[in-house]
């Protein structure tokens, strides 16, 4: 197909600014989806995506559009994940496009996520079309939104389109703007095949489905292909495009977007950002920008019922078929038994994996406090990566600890600075930028330890700004910090599941809070139970659970003995479900509650 008639674009928007509604409208207007088939948010396939209103996986849809110039065009809409955890995937999807719609809510204005993805788009040389959405709402101030775009992003808004995706107002103009402003793909049709993989997923019937964009050359059914980075060869079995229903096609060439299947067993064999080429005539250089995906956030996942360990392992294996971006390895804990240390792209990714394990595999899980991967230099000069408190070397063997740092962009009304700035201070943030982007809207740029973000930062930012501040961040390297490992000891025994790595300055307070919390949660035992918080060998907080006062059935006659026996059996069952640390029986709920504390 003639690349002159192809437009590849994606949509950049902050959550709730109307990306999915606009996409639905585009599908409808181009006839890809008939009115009666219209289901809200056609592109979001997973239940979780619909519920959370976010896109987790990328999608691509081919739209046929007859423009006002009388020509027919193929518009490929490449949807991107909408969360900071998936910024690498976003960047790969964007690099498959020549342009992007920058959707901004007319009453909300520019938000942090819009910015982050816009910068990614600019890095990938995309042509941006500002779309000011929701102009039908009473609070809409399209002029203000346009001004922010010009001022913050430095983008000319002459070609901006004002829309209401909900009513359909302005949507035909969006289609025209895409044809007019998004450049057509440039590529060499006779060069060796070079295609960019921007997503893949596992289908129980067809194996792995790979989404790609052809840069040079062409790909055909039956072709022997090679994945440049993994070096693996496959034969293309099915080639197709989504309209949005999968439709087979024999050949895809320069600028075209489609999917293929090739008897690939797991998504781990397909790396996002990798290049597809022809095995017989490979390209010499791959498409630039490929990176190995690295997990950033780590936590232990344990089954609540010990006998679900095998099931959890099977579930993780199966989930990995579909999501190669998390990793796991067996881990055991004296308090929680057998489980897995898991690494995730970010907090949302962690929640998604956890929720899918519980929902799709019916598992009940305990997740330990999330942490990050530290770089520890031992006194003998060896550098080790530590992603769990249990792996932290003894302090006497540590020369220095470095922690991962992020660069955070926060956008908020200046009304909330009184809450936001102290929070950033408390979280050990270093200010890198402070800029008014309109009368009362401020953009803050900070460097912060990732560790502080994973604990409770996002919730607290939301609460000090009544939900109005938006946050985006990207990984920005490591810095050296005075970090310590905090242990909680119950009756003298460390409870490994409760250990934390944190900054020395906050360790005292947190130790006290944790010890206090444990005192409230551990039921009274037959003997007094001391609870201590310790750093290294030093006790920094002490609490104690008093010995049990009474547990007695007063009246026991009238003959209903079986009921009493059942009562006792129930009590015994309850004890069995408790986790034993030394002589102390701790209910599972205590761990859950402590791991959930946000203060």
């Amino acid at each position: 197909m003639n690349p002159e008639r192809i437009r590849n674009f994606s949509i950049i928007a902050h959550i709730d600014h109307g990306k999915s509604t606009l996409a639905d409208r585009l599908l409808q207007l181009t006839g890809a989806v008939a009115e009666r088939e219209m289901e809200n948010q056609v592109l979001d396939n997973m239940d979780l995506e619909r519920e959370r209103g976010i896109t987790i996986k990328s999608h691509a849809v081919r739209l046929d559009y007859k423009a006002r110039d009388g020509e027919s065009y193929v518009l490929n809409l490449i949807d991107t994940p909408g969360h900071v955890d998936f910024s690498y995937e976003v960047s790969r999807s964007l690099s498959a496009c020549e342009g992007a719609l920058l959707v901004v809510d007319a009453s909300q204005g520019v938000e942090a996520q819009t910015l982050a993805n816009t910068y990614l788009a600019i890095d990938n040389n995309l042509e941006l079309i500002p779309v000011i959405n929701k102009i039908d709402l009473p609070g809409a101030e399209p002029e203000k939104a346009l001004e922010q775009i010009e001022r913050v992003i430095g983008l000319d808004t002459a070609n901006a389109v004002l829309t209401s995706a909900k009513t359909g107002l302005g949507v035909p103009e969006v289609l025209e703007a895409i044809v007019r402003d998004v450049p057509s793909p440039k590529g060499d049709p006779s060069a060796p095949l070079m295609a960019l993989i921007f997503d893949s997923w596992y289908d129980a019937y067809r194996g792995v489905i790979v989404l790609f964009r052809v840069i040079d050359g062409s790909i055909t059914t039956g072709m022997k292909i090679r994945f440049f980075n993994t070096g693996r060869d496959y034969q293309v079995e099915n080639l197709g495009v989504n309209r949005p229903r999968p439709t087979p096609i024999d050949r895809l060439s320069v600028g075209e977007v489609g999917f293929l299947t090739a008897s690939i067993k797991t998504v781990a064999d397909v790396q996002i950002g990798d290049t597809i080429t022809e095995a017989a005539r490979p390209t010499t250089e791959p498409f630039p920008g490929f990176q190995e995906i690295k997990p950033m956030v780590f936590a232990g996942l344990y089954p609540i019922e010990a006998n679900q360990y095998e099931e959890l392992r099977d579930a993780l294996d199966k989930l990995r078929l579909n999501d190669a971006s998390f990793f796991y390895e067996p881990e055991s804990s004296t308090a929680l038994g057998f489980g897995f240390r898991c690494g995730f792209l970010g907090l949302l990714h962690m929640e998604i994996v956890q929720e899918r394990l519980e929902r799709e595999f019916n598992l009940d899980l305990i997740t330990t406090a999330p942490g990050v991967r530290y770089r520890v230099t031992r006194t003998d000069g060896e550098v080790v990566e530590v992603d769990s408190p249990a792996k932290m070397p003894d302090p006497v063997h540590i020369d220095k600890i470095e922690e991962p740092i992020i660069r955070a962009t926060i956008l908020s009304s200046d009304d909330y600075l009184g809450g936001i700035l102290p929070l950033l201070e408390e979280k050990r943030g270093v200010q890198k930028g402070f800029e008014y982007i309109s009368d009362n809207r401020v953009m803050l740029t900070y460097e912060l330890p990732l560790n502080e973000i994973v604990l409770d930062f996002y919730d607290r930012l939301k609460s000090v700004s009544r939900g109005y501040a938006s946050l985006d961040y990207s990984f920005a390297g490591f810095w050296e910090s005075d970090l310590v490992k905090l242990d909680i000891l119950v009756a003298g025994e460390p409870v490994d599941a409760l250990s934390l790595i944190l900054h020395r300055a906050t360790s005292q307070a947190r130790g006290r809070t944790l010890a206090e919390k444990m005192r409230q949660l551990i039921p009274r035992q037959l003997f007094e139970v001391p609870i201590q918080a310790a750093i290294g060998g030093k006790i920094i907080a002490r609490e104690s659970v008093k010995a049990m006062g009474k547990n007695v059935i007063a009246k026991c006659y009238g003959g209903d003995i079986s009921r009493k026996r059942k009562l006792l059996e129930k009590q015994k069952e309850g004890k069995k479900r408790m986790k034993r640390v030394g002589r102390v029986e701790i209910p599972q709920e205590a761990f859950l509650a402590v791991l959930k504390v946000n203060d």
């Binding site: 037959l526 006062g549 009474k550 547990n551 007695v552 007063a554 006659y557 003995i561 006792l568 009590q571």
Partner: protein, 376 residues
């Protein structure tokens, strides 16, 4: 042959107490009359075998709502159906202030020789809050009436750790109880049962929650005070002057046979079977009147359950379990089977263990559920 106890449940009360979760309902003279006939019929059609009865117990509810004639009807049916021993202990439960001297005398003439009543507390304010309809003065009068009526075996109940009750208040309750010198005392720590008005009041914060440590303190106080007064602490919550243990209730704690009649009555055959009757009074009456059985549940206990019950019931008696006897009856060496648990409980100071005997210590009595749970 093991002597059996007879239990007769009388499911009527003038009003319901706020802590009560027993099977009882409002008194209705017409229903009560039908009920008495039904109980007599149930007893008459019971296959009594050659059992000898040596305890009879009217429990409730408020059995003293029965007229002497109604008590007589029931006792007659027992005597017709069973061989009743000469020295049978026959108990009736009552509420203070509800029974006249005449009725008490009439009961005594019918062979009732033991009275048990719920004094609960000598504090009128607490009585009112618990939904009791009597006062401390009524308790005193009933006690005197019983003595005047020739009752030589009187027991009453007191509840400790009532919401808002101080240790001093409990102490003076004990003083007043011991001054009366009943032959037998049942002293309980308040238990809160789900679904009772009391549980609801506590949940809503209308009444202060009893404190666990203060409750324990009150329990220790009652052990000391009764002991000083010459009472024997023979069961977790029961105290008596020498020789006045409740023979009927001891049957439950020693897994002896007890046959229960009336609604919600529970029975044990002394071997391996427990059964219980329809809980609702009206449905019970209808079943019996139409010639059907009132039994709604029969449980055959296996060896493990039997042994467990014998242990946790037997341990309620402060004399504890005779281990050789237990081994002979249940073919189980407790010291081996529960070796780890016994070691743990002994270390925590809850039990005393010798070759012959396993028993609770005083602190073990307060934490007895912790001990019992090891055996179920």
């Amino acid at each position: 042959m093991n002597k059996v106890g007879i239990y007769i449940h009388i499911p009527f009360c003038r009003s319901r107490c706020s802590y009560c979760d027993f099977a009882t309902g409002a008194y209705d003279a017409e229903l009560c009359e039908r009920y008495v006939s039904a109980v007599a019929k149930e007893i008459s059609s019971f296959d009594a075998g050659d059992h000898e009865v040596d305890t009879i117990y009217f429990g409730g509810g408020t059995p003293s709502l029965l007229t002497p004639a109604q008590v007589e009807t029931i006792l007659d049916s027992v005597h017709k159906q069973f061989h009743v021993a000469a020295q049978t202990e026959t108990t009736i439960e009552m509420n203070p202030g509800t029974v006249t001297r005449e009725t008490l005398r009439a009961y005594r003439t019918l062979g009732i020789n033991r009275a048990s009543f719920g004094a609960q507390t000598f504090d009128d304010e607490h009585l009112r809050r618990l939904g009791r309809t009597h006062t401390a003065a009524d308790t005193r009068r009933t006690f005197d009436d019983l003595r005047a009526g020739d009752y030589e075996n009187i027991s009453f109940d007191l509840i400790a750790a009532l919401p808002g009750q101080t240790i001093d208040a409990w102490s003076s309750n004990l003083d007043r109880a011991l001054r009366l010198r009943p032959e037998h005392l049942s002293l309980y720590l308040l238990e809160i049962h789900e679904g009772t008005p009391l549980a609801e009041q506590l949940k809503r914060g209308r009444l202060p929650q009893p404190d666990e440590d203060a409750s324990a303190e009150m329990y220790r106080l009652m052990l000391a005070r009764t002991s000083d007064a010459g009472y024997e602490h023979y069961e977790i919550s029961n105290f008596c002057l020498p020789g006045y243990e409740s023979r009927h209730n001891t049957k439950y704690w020693t897994c002896a046979p007890v046959f229960g009649f009336g609604c919600s009555a529970h029975s044990f055959d002394g071997r391996n079977t427990r059964w219980s009757n329809e809980r609702d009074a009206r449905r019970y009456v209808e079943a019996i009147e139409s010639g059907r059985a009132a039994v709604v549940e029969t449980i055959e206990l296996d060896a493990r359950e039997l042994s467990a019950e014998n242990l946790f019931l037997g341990l309620r008696l402060m004399r504890g379990i005779d281990l050789p006897e237990h081994q002979a009856r249940f073919n189980q060496d407790v010291r081996i089977k529960y070796e780890d648990d016994l070691a743990r409980l002994k270390e925590a100071g809850l039990i005393e263990l010798s070759d012959e005997r396993l028993k609770l210590t005083r602190s073990g009595a307060l934490l007895s559920n912790e001990v019992f749970a090891a055996f179920v």
